[in-house]
C-alpha cells in the first residue's frame, strides 16, 4: 500500500507536516503529495538508495560498544522536515539575540561580574558551577566572544509553541550530519528540489572558516587554522575530519602540537615546526592542557592555556565558556537578555524549576511522575529522569540524588515534542523530533539555515540522541510563495 495520510495518527500532538485532519499543513502540501504518490516499491527503492548513499559517502558515527569502537552508519529518514522561511527568520533573530546575551554573560563572569552583583544570576550558582574555570578570569578573547560555535536545541510542544531546550556552548556536534543529510537528499530526491525553493545549507564550512579566521591573533593573509580532535575513537571523529577537510584546515591531535618557549603554538610537520593561529578544539576544556586543568590528560597540549592567555593563539570555543552551559544557569537566560541587551527574549525557555530553591524543589519532588528532571552538567541525554516513563525505583533514586545535591538539578514539565512523518516499514508514522541550529560568533554572527533535525526513531520515544537510537532528517527552510507546480 502507498502512504495514506488519512490513516496517519498524530492526534493530540503537533505534527510539523500534517494536520490532525490528515490534511497537509499550510506550505507542506507539495511534499506530502509527492510522498503519497510513491508506490511501495518506489519507497523501498528510495530508502535503499539513501542507505547506499550514506554508505558510499562514508557517513558514520562511532559507538563505544563492548570494548571496541564501531563505526555505525548514520540513521537517516528520507522524509524531510519543513520550516517556513518567515518562521525561521524570527527563530534566527531569536538565536542571535540569545547567543549575544550568553557571550556577554560569560565575558562578565570572567571580568567585572556586574550581573552577579546585580543579582541577575546568583553568584553562588556561577562560581560553584562545575564548568566555571577560575584561571580564565581576566582573559579577553577576540570580540569578547567565548562561545564561537553554539548549538541550541529547539523543541515544539503539542500546542505548537517553540522553546529553547538548551544551549550547547562547549563543543556542540552534529553540523556535518546536517550538511551530509542535504547531500543525500539531493541524490535520492532531485525532483523535489525542482518544486521547492529550499534555502541552501552548504555555506556552513566557509562561514565557520571565516569565523575562525576572524579570531587570528596574527594579521596574516591566511592564518593557520587547525581542528583539534581527541582522535579516531571519538564518536564525532567523522565530523572533525569532515570539517577540517571542508575548511582546508589541518586535522590535528594533541601530540601534533607543541608550545615553544616563545609561548606560541606550533604543529610538528615534516618541514619542522609551523605556527598555528587558531585552534577549533573539539576536546573538552578539562583535557586541553595538563598544566592548566586535568593533569592526566593524554589528549591535550602542555602549555596551551598559557599560550592562549598570552594572546598568541585563539581557542574556539574559549575555555570556561561552559559556565553558561549549565542547566541551572540556563533558567536565567531570559533575564540575561533583558539585562545585557535591554530587549525582550524572542525565543522562550522551557518553564523550569530550580531544585536549589525550596518551593521549586518541593514542587519537583511532589510531581516527579509528571516532570523531566535533568542534571546541570550532563549531555547526550544521560542522567535524566523522564517522569511519565519512569519506574518507582528510579523516582526514589532521584528523590535521593536531588536531596543530596539540589544545586545540580532542574525539573521541567514533560513536553509532548512535536512529530513529523517518518518511514516505518512501508508506511509513515509520527516520530518525535527536535532541531539543533548552529550559531557562529566571531567578528560577525551567523545562524545555519535550519539545522540538524534529530528524530527519535523508536515509536513514542522522545530521546533523539544518536548514541541512544536517534536518527535524523534533512531540514528544509522553504518559501511557500515560491512553490512551483510539478
Amino acid at each position: 500500500m502507498t502512504i495514506d495520510w488519512r490513516t496517519y495518527q498524530a492526534a493530540d500532538l503537533y505534527d510539523e507536516l500534517v494536520l490532525p485532519s490528515g490534511r497537509a499543513r499550510s506550505g507542506t502540501g507539495k511534499l506530502v503529495q509527492a510522498f503519497a504518490k510513491l508506490s511501495d516499491d518506489e519507497l523501498v527503492e528510495r530508502k535503499a538508495a539513501a542507505k547506499l548513499a550514506i554508505r558510499s559517502m562514508g557517513i558514520t558515527f562511532s559507538v563505544y560498544h563492548e570494548g571496541t569502537n564501531i563505526d555505525r552508519e548514520w540513521p537517516f529518514d528520507i522524509v524531510p522536515r519543513l520550516i517556513m522561511k518567515r518562521e525561521w527568520d524570527e527563530i534566527a533573530r531569536g538565536l542571535k539575540q540569545r547567543v549575544r546575551a550568553l557571550n556577554a554573560f560569560i565575558d562578565d563572569v570572567y571580568h567585572h561580574r556586574r550581573s552577579l552583583r546585580d543579582g541577575v544570576v546568583p553568584e553562588d550558582y556561577v562560581l560553584k558551577s562545575r564548568e566555571y574555570r577560575s584561571r580564565c578570569a581576566g582573559i579577553d578573547p577576540p570580540y569578547g566572544v567565548w562561545s564561537n560555535v553554539c548549538g541550541s536545541d529547539l523543541v515544539r510542544d503539542a500546542d505548537g509553541s517553540l522553546y529553547v531546550l538548551e544551549d550547547n556552548l562547549r563543543v556542540p556536534s552534529g553540523v556535518s550530519y546536517m550538511l551530509e543529510n542535504r547531500a543525500v537528499m539531493k541524490r535520492i530526491f532531485p525532483e523535489l528540489f525542482e518544486h521547492y525553493a529550499i534555502h541552501p545549507v552548504d555555506d556552513y564550512p566557509s562561514e565557520l572558516a571565516a569565523c575562525l579566521r576572524s579570531l587570528s591573533p596574527r594579521d596574516v593573509r591566511s592564518p593557520r587554522i587547525v581542528v583539534l580532535t581527541p582522535g579516531i575513537y571519538n564518536s564525532a571523529y567523522f565530523e572533525h575530519a569532515y570539517l577540517a577537510l571542508e575548511m582546508a584546515a589541518e586535522l590535528v591531535e594533541g601530540s601534533d602540537l607543541v608550545v615553544a618557549d616563545d609561548d606560541c603554538v606550533y604543529m610538528r610537520t615534516i618541514s619542522g615546526l609551523e605556527r598555528v593561529d587558531v585552534i577549533y578544539r573539539r576536546i573538552d576544556d578539562l583535557f586541553l592542557d595538563p598544566r592548566a586543568f586535568r593533569k592526566d590528560t593524554m589528549l591535550g597540549v602542555p602549555g596551551l592555556v598559557r599560550a592562549w592567555q598570552a594572546g598568541n593563539v585563539a581557542l574556539a570555543n574559549a575555555p570556561g565558556c561552559g559556565v553558561a552551559d549549565d542547566k541551572v544557569i540556563y533558567t536565567y537566560v531570559p533575564d540575561m537578555i533583558r539585562y545585557f541587551l535591554g530587549e525582550e527574549p524572542i525565543l522562550a525557555n522551557v518553564p523550569s524549576y530550580r531544585c536549589a530553591e525550596k518551593d521549586h524543589r518541593d514542587f519537583v519532588l511532589d510531581n516527579l511522575q509528571d516532570l523531566v528532571v535533568k542534571p546541570a552538567n550532563e549531555s547526550g541525554g544521560y542522567g535524566m529522569l523522564i517522569g511519565p516513563q519512569s519506574t518507582r525505583r528510579q523516582r526514589d533514586e532521584f528523590v535521593r540524588v536531588i536531596r543530596a545535591n539540589p544545586r545540580n538539578y532542574i525539573g521541567q514539565p514533560t513536553l509532548k515534542l512535536s512529530t513529523a512523518p517518518t518511514i516505518a516499514g512501508n508506511t509513515v508514522e509520527p516520530r518525535h523530533l527536535d532541531l539543533r541550529p548552529f550559531i557562529l560568533s566571531g567578528k560577525d554572527i551567523y545562524v545555519t539555515t535550519g539545522g540538524l533535525t534529530r528524530v527519535a526513531m523508536r515509536k513514542g520515544s522522545i530521546v533523539v540522541n544518536s548514541s541512544q537510537g536517534g536518527g535524523s532528517k534533512d531540514t528544509w527552510v522553504v518559501e511557500p510563495a515560491t512553490l512551483v507546480d510539478p
Partner: protein
C-alpha cells in the same frame, strides 16, 4: 611541495606503505615455498624453517612453538594468522587498516573501503591448519588484492608528499625483503648441503619466482640460471622493480621530493655506495657464502640506518 604534512600523519602513511608491502611479500613467500617443497624429495632438510629465518623471527617462533617444530602447519600459522607474531600477514593487514583509518582524509575516499575488504577477506579466508589448496588460494588472493591496492594508489592518489612517504615505506620494506630472501635461500644453497646439489637449479628458480622474476631473468640476462648472474640480477639490475638497487634508487627519488632530506639522502647514498663497490656476482661462488652473508648483513644495517634517519627527521 605546497602542502605540508603533520609528522604523525607522515609516520602513519610511511607505515601504511611498509605494512602493505610486508603483507604482500609474506603471502608471496609462503606460496612460493609451498611450490618449491612439492618439487623436492621428502628426505631433504630444506623445509619451512627458512621462512622463519627470512622474516628474522626465529627466537619468537621457538618461544611460541618450541625448537625443531618448524612444520608446515606451524610455520604457516605463525606467518599468516598468528596475532602473537607482529610480522604475520594478519597483523600487517591490521596495522595497514589502523594506519589507514587515521589518514583516511589524505587518500581517495574509497581507499579505506578497499583496505577494509582486504582485511575482511584475510580474516575469513586465512584459517590455521587449512589445506594446502585452500591456503594457496587465500594467499594468492591476498597478494593480488594488496598489489591492486598499490596500483590503485599509484593511479589515483595525489602524488604529493603523502605519496612520497608511502613510497618510502614500500621501497624500504621491499629492499629489506629482497635481501632477506636472497640471504636465507642462497646461504642455505651455498653452505653446501651436498644432497641438495642436484636440486640447485630448482632452488634458484624458486628464488627468482619469489620475485615474480623468472621471465624477467630470461629476458634480461639471456643466460641459463646461474648463481652469480642471479645475484647480480637481483641486486643490481635497475630494470627489475624489486632489485635492491632499484629499491634504493626509488627511495632516493622520493626523498628528493621531501624537505629536510639531508640525513636520509646521505644514509641512502651510503647504501648505494656500498652496493656499487661490491662485486656481487663474485659472491655467488660456493666458497663465498660467508662473504655474501656478511654483505647482506651490511645491507640490512644500511637499511635500518636509513629508516632511523627518516624517523628522526620526519616523525619526531
Amino acid at each position: 611541495m605546497t602542502v605540508n604534512v603533520l609528522s604523525r600523519v607522515a609516520e602513519r602513511v610511511y607505515w601504511l606503505g611498509r605494512y602493505l608491502e610486508r603483507a604482500e611479500s609474506t603471502a608471496r613467500l609462503i606460496t612460493v615455498n609451498g611450490n618449491l617443497i612439492m618439487d623436492l624429495p621428502v628426505r631433504l632438510p630444506l623445509g619451512w624453517r627458512p621462512l622463519i629465518d627470512i622474516t628474522g623471527s626465529g627466537d619468537l617462533f621457538e618461544s611460541l612453538y618450541g625448537k625443531g617444530h618448524a612444520s608446515e602447519r606451524n610455520v604457516c600459522r605463525f606467518l599468516a594468522t598468528d596475532t602473537r607474531n607482529p610480522g604475520s600477514i594478519i597483523n600487517s593487514i591490521i596495522g595497514l587498516r589502523d594506519n589507514a583509518r587515521t589518514v583516511r582524509e589524505n587518500m581517495p575516499r574509497i581507499t579505506f573501503e578497499y583496505i577494509n575488504e582486504l582485511y575482511l577477506f584475510a580474516r575469513s579466508a586465512l584459517v590455521p591448519g587449512q589445506s594446502r589448496s585452500r591456503r594457496g588460494e587465500a594467499l594468492t588472493q591476498i597478494s593480488r588484492l594488496a598489489q591492486q591496492l598499490e596500483g590503485f594508489l599509484s593511479q589515483n592518489m595525489l602524488h604529493d608528499a603523502h605519496w612520497e612517504l608511502l613510497r618510502l615505506g614500500n621501497y624500504i620494506e621491499r629492499a629489506d625483503m629482497t635481501t632477506r630472501i636472497i640471504d636465507v635461500r642462497t646461504v642455505d644453497l651455498i653452505a653446501g648441503h651436498h644432497e641438495l646439489e642436484p636440486f640447485q637449479d630448482i632452488q634458484w628458480r624458486s628464488v627468482l619466482r619469489s620475485f615474480y622474476a623468472m621471465q624477467a631473468y630470461h629476458a634480461s640476462v639471456r643466460e641459463p640460471v646461474d648463481p652469480p648472474l642471479v645475484l647480480h640480477f637481483l641486486f643490481k639490475d635497475e630494470r627489475l622493480p624489486r632489485s635492491y638497487l632499484r629499491c634504493l634508487n626509488s627511495v632516493r627519488r622520493s626523498l628528493r621530493e621531501l624537505p629536510r632530506n639531508g640525513d636520509a639522502v646521505d644514509a641512502c647514498d651510503d647504501a648505494l655506495t656500498a652496493l656499487r663497490e661490491t662485486d656481487v656476482a663474485r659472491l655467488g661462488g660456493m666458497e663465498q657464502s660467508v662473504a655474501l652473508h656478511q654483505f647482506i648483513n651490511d645491507c640490512q644495517i644500511h637499511l635500518s640506518g636509513l629508516h632511523d634517519a627518516i624517523v628522526s627527521t620526519y616523525f619526531e
